[in-house]
């Protein structure tokens, strides 16, 4: 969505996510039209989209009511972006990291059962590139290959619900680097586990793939927990 309409969506959605409008607050479409500087037509489109995300509810003779955040579609990519852009950044990152920790081991297991020969080849290749960039301490290139690796595993799981989470995983991995939640150079263990996942999937060894991926995810969760402890305590 782009143009004036997408802009209005971005502003109103962002405002709601950052808490500019308190839960239960009632807005009127004409007010919104004035505030956003657009026609009521555009406001209606925006409201409809936010409604489909569970963020607002529109009722005749009442207005547009901001819904409690428990109703929001937490998996909506746009909403995730709003949350990551706002104050709740670290909370959101923790939620996503936990989600990732749950998903990826199962994805690795399924990938071991379902990956095509081509996907196996790509996995092995990416793992090798991870090893080499880890040795040369090129963190940027390492991150790119890391994201690529996990995207490939999710793709090989052959489950749309898992495949779609590649953006989430990419966000978590990037966030880790961006907030310096990981060592200055990749841990040798972590690199080895990636190789192990690639091998296990290629050999169709589901248990081994799941275990290795669990090791990767657990380590990431520990790093994340340490960070949040450092932030709050």
């Amino acid at each position: 969505m782009q143009g004036i309409s997408g802009d209005a969506l971005d502003r109103l959605g962002g405002a709601i996510v950052t808490g500019a409008y308190s839960r239960g607050q009632v807005l009127r479409s004409e007010e919104l039209a004035e505030w956003l500087g657009v026609s009521r037509t555009v406001v209606r489109e925006v409201v409809r989209v936010l409604e489909s995300m569970g963020m607002v509810a529109a009722r005749r003779r009442v207005g547009i009511t901001v819904q409690p955040s428990a109703n929001w579609d937490a998996y909506n990519p746009q909403l995730i972006r709003w949350r990551l852009a706002g104050d709740g950044r670290l909370d959101q990152l923790r939620s996503l990291a936990e989600l990732r920790g749950a998903i990826e081991p199962m994805a690795a297991r399924l990938a071991a059962q379902r990956a095509t020969a081509e996907q196996c080849g790509e996995l092995i290749g990416v793992a090798m590139r991870m090893v080499s960039t880890a040795k040369s301490r090129d963190l940027t290139a390492f991150l790119a290959h890391d994201i690529d690796f996990h995207r490939t595993v999710l793709a090989a799981s052959n489950n749309p619900m898992f495949q779609q989470l590649h953006e989430v995983v990419a966000e978590v991995l990037s966030g880790r680097t961006h907030y310096h939640l990981m060592p200055d150079e990749p841990l040798p263990d972590a690199v080895r586990w990636h190789t192990e996942v690639a091998e296990a999937i290629s050999c169709g060894e589901a248990d081994r793939a799941e275990r290795a991926m669990t090791a990767i995810a657990d380590q990431a969760l520990i790093e994340m927990t340490d960070l949040l402890a450092g932030q709050t305590g």
Copy 2:
């Protein structure tokens, strides 16, 4: 979303999900207005919502293009409903069951670390009701308590991404009963595992909670796999 606008959304969205429009097909808003029997204003709102779900993309001088299903927001509740209502029902149910199998063990682990005393009490209570309805072979009541149990665990995980999946879990559990994918009476093992999860969470034993929940989910996945084998082979 309700009224004529919600109706139009439901019809167009449903048509796209069931494959009435092939991927890449281009629609024109005026055609859609005629087909749906609504004004272009309403069509625009509907298209905007479908656009935010990744199902279509609108471009000037081109039209409204149906996007490949890989782009669709697989977690959108409305989209899940459309898929469950159409031909892809069993595929969707399998995807959801796998997702659930990944999520719930981690949710149980987190719940063991975070559940409030009140939530623990509720869990124990629901587990006891599951035991009694299992004994009296009241499958309907058992299903209701089963759904309630898993919703409580997800809530206690204190992670919005997990909490939101309670509808998915409910759908999987209901689907199991509806398609007769489970025994005529609940397996004693399954009931015992639920009690174990409740106890482990109440005692703050994360590992034990995770293991017991894994047992529950694994069994459900096995049942689901058996079904699909029976369908296709």
